[in-house]
């Protein structure tokens, strides 16, 4: 919205923004990711649930609606608003915080999960669009006792620095190995073309994935 007290010159605005610190911003806005979730939860309970109009069209929301999501082989009943993204449903409603929300715009692929084994950005998908599909998250890749061979290779190759992009990287590379057990480095580069790592650990990700591919073929 246009604000007459703010300069219209974009350069001035840009310089203005640089004065904002992260701490100051969080204080001023009074919101962290968890704070936002709580607020949304409070509003949600005041709204009506799903209403059905006719056989062809079903209206959901705007308040919370009960839905069932299939995640990592289990069915979960959750009550979510239609605007809840799949990433938010996984992290906030199901407590599966392995999936990271970083850019929240599909620009970094940190939130990568599989929808019927196809890698997607869960931050750019409404949770209701996952109904009837099998969602796989980083938590579902390993068993209780054994890491996925790719996870073991990431550890061995030290394919992470800060680790924040790692769940997304692993999900992208594991999806590649499901589809193509004989990837070249070019294939790995292509598979993670959307995954951003600001530490720059890409070469380790390539080597870990290529080694895991070899190990998985032998196994």
């Amino acid at each position: 919205m246009s604000d007459p007290t703010k300069p219209n010159d974009p350069l001035l605005r840009e310089h203005g923004r640089k004065g904002i610190t992260r701490r100051g911003f969080l204080k001023g806005a009074g919101l962290t990711a968890a704070g936002t979730a709580l607020l949304e939860g409070v509003q949600a309970f005041n709204s009506e649930a799903a209403t059905s109009t006719n056989s062809e069209v079903t209206e959901l929301g705007p308040g919370p609606v009960p839905v069932r999501l299939h995640v990592n082989g289990k069915e979960h009943a959750v009550s979510i608003e239609p605007r809840t993204t799949l990433a938010e449903a996984l992290r906030i409603h199901l407590g599966m915080t392995g999936t990271k929300i970083i850019c929240d715009r599909g620009a970094c692929s940190g939130c990568t999960v599989w929808l019927d084994k196809v890698p997607v950005n869960s931050c750019m998908m409404l949770a209701v669009d996952a109904i009837g599909h099998e969602v796989t998250t980083i938590e579902g890749l390993s068993t209780e006792s054994e890491p996925h061979p790719l996870q073991a290779a990431f550890v061995k190759h030290d394919a992470m620095q800060c680790g924040f992009c790692t769940p997304g990287m692993v999900m992208s590379c594991a999806a590649l190995l499901e589809k193509n057990p004989h990837p070249s480095e070019h294939d790995v580069r292509h598979a993670i073309a959307g995954n951003l790592c600001r530490c720059g650990t890409y070469p380790r990700v390539f080597s870990a994935t290529l080694e895991a591919a070899g190990n998985m073929r032998r196994a």
């Binding site: 919205m1 246009s2 604000d3 703010k6 219209n8 010159d9 974009p10 350069l11 605005r13 509003q43 709204s47 006719n54 062809e56 069209v57 079903t58 209206e59 959901l60 929301g61 705007p62 308040g63 608003e81 239609p82 605007r83 993204t85 929240d104 715009r105 599909g106 620009a107 692929s109 990568t112 196809v118 890698p119 997607v120 950005n121 750019m124 998908m125 409404l126 209701v128 669009d129 992208s172 292509h190 598979a191 073309a193 959307g194 951003l196």
Partner: protein, 333 residues
């Protein structure tokens, strides 16, 4: 993101019955959710067409191809028939956004994105595209903006699939509950900013984009698309080129040259096309065509570099289409 009612539809008729009172259509939702998260668009109702199976899939017909509006960019770029007969389209769909976004983003949604401009896409700037009387780009940061045919708004055309479909002379099927179906040529689909700055395509609020029809290519047709950006992935084109060549042996019978990131509406370059018609495709003719495409450019304060970049994009894409060069390693993706 604002809260909204979601109307889940399983049929086209059901979806059409919901298109009223400002309801927004949601397919893959990529561009829509971004605009909603940014706060530039706050519809109170979303019509979810994602689960209408009739709108998904690629069919070979007598006249060419029919692609359902919900077919994803990944499905199009990996389709064997499209990879061999309509290379320009598989190239364009295969280099948009990122692999994971292409797994969800649909052809219809890609074609219907509003223009790309950081002022238009920010909730903090009320510009001519939002019904106000000012453009921030002319006097502001305009390095990614248009260099030709921009009139009152130099935001660039966002859809890479449109650059390909303009080259292929595709037609778009629009359906409405009241008026039935109509077909619109891709060349008439987009609205110039001077004609109506707040309307991006000819689609009406009660219409759904249901399919795209592509005519069968003439014998000897070869085509390609390449996009150049600052990053290899997840970046908008700073220059892109679509090339369709109808060849008789080594001679080009007819050429179509298209560009996206040069102007607010995807455009052809008749000047470049004229230089190739009836000629052999060589490095010289390709370079000359690239230069000719820059007739009538009017770069802004920060984007004169595009006037040098576009000819290179066009020349290299002509050679790629003609089979005289491999995919440019400096092109995106």
């Amino acid at each position: 993101m604002n809260s909204f009612v979601l109307a889940e539809c399983t049929t086209v008729e059901g979806a059409l019955s919901q298109l009223k009172d400002g309801a927004a259509v949601k397919a893959g939702g990529i561009d829509l959710l971004e605009r909603m998260k940014n706060g530039t668009y706050q519809p109170s109702k979303l019509v979810n067409i994602r689960n209408i199976s009739a709108l998904r899939g690629i069919q070979k017909t007598q006249d060419g191809l029919t692609i359902g509006a919900l077919t994803t960019l990944s499905e199009i770029s990996e389709h064997p028939e499209i990879q061999t007969q309509y290379q320009i389209l598989s190239d364009a769909c295969g280099h948009a956004a990122t692999p994971h976004l292409r797994n969800v983003a649909t052809l219809g949604g890609n074609l219907l994105q509003p223009v790309q401009c950081w002022y238009y896409r920010s909730a903090e700037f009320e510009c001519i595209r939002k019904g106000k009387n000012f453009c921030f780009a002319f006097g502001g940061l305009n390095q990614y903006h248009a260099i030709m045919d921009y009139g009152t708004c130099p935001a660039v055309a966002p859809s890479s699939s449109a650059v390909a479909l303009l080259g292929l002379d595709a037609r778009i099927e629009l359906s409405s509950a009241k008026r039935g179906k109509r077909m619109v040529s891709i060349k008439d689909f987009y609205v110039e900013p001077d004609a109506n700055p707040t309307k991006f395509t000819v689609i009406e609020p009660d219409e759904l984009l249901t399919a795209v029809m592509i005519p069968k290519p003439a014998p000897g047709t070869r085509s390609a698309y390449q996009k150049y950006g600052e990053k290899e992935s997840f970046d908008w084109a700073i220059a892109d080129a679509g090339v369709v060549l109808e060849m008789d042996g080594n001679t080009c019978r007819r050429a179509v040259i298209t560009m996206g990131a040069a102007s607010p509406v995807v455009r052809r370059s008749q000047e470049a096309e004229a230089l190739l018609a009836g000629k052999r495709i060589t490095e010289e003719t390709a370079r000359a065509a690239g230069k000719a495409a820059m007739t009538n450019v009017q770069p802004l304060s920060m984007n004169a570099y595009k006037v040098d970049l576009f000819p290179v994009a066009i020349y290299r894409t002509i050679l790629l289409a003609a089979g005289q060069a491999s995919r440019d390693p400096s092109a995106a993706g």
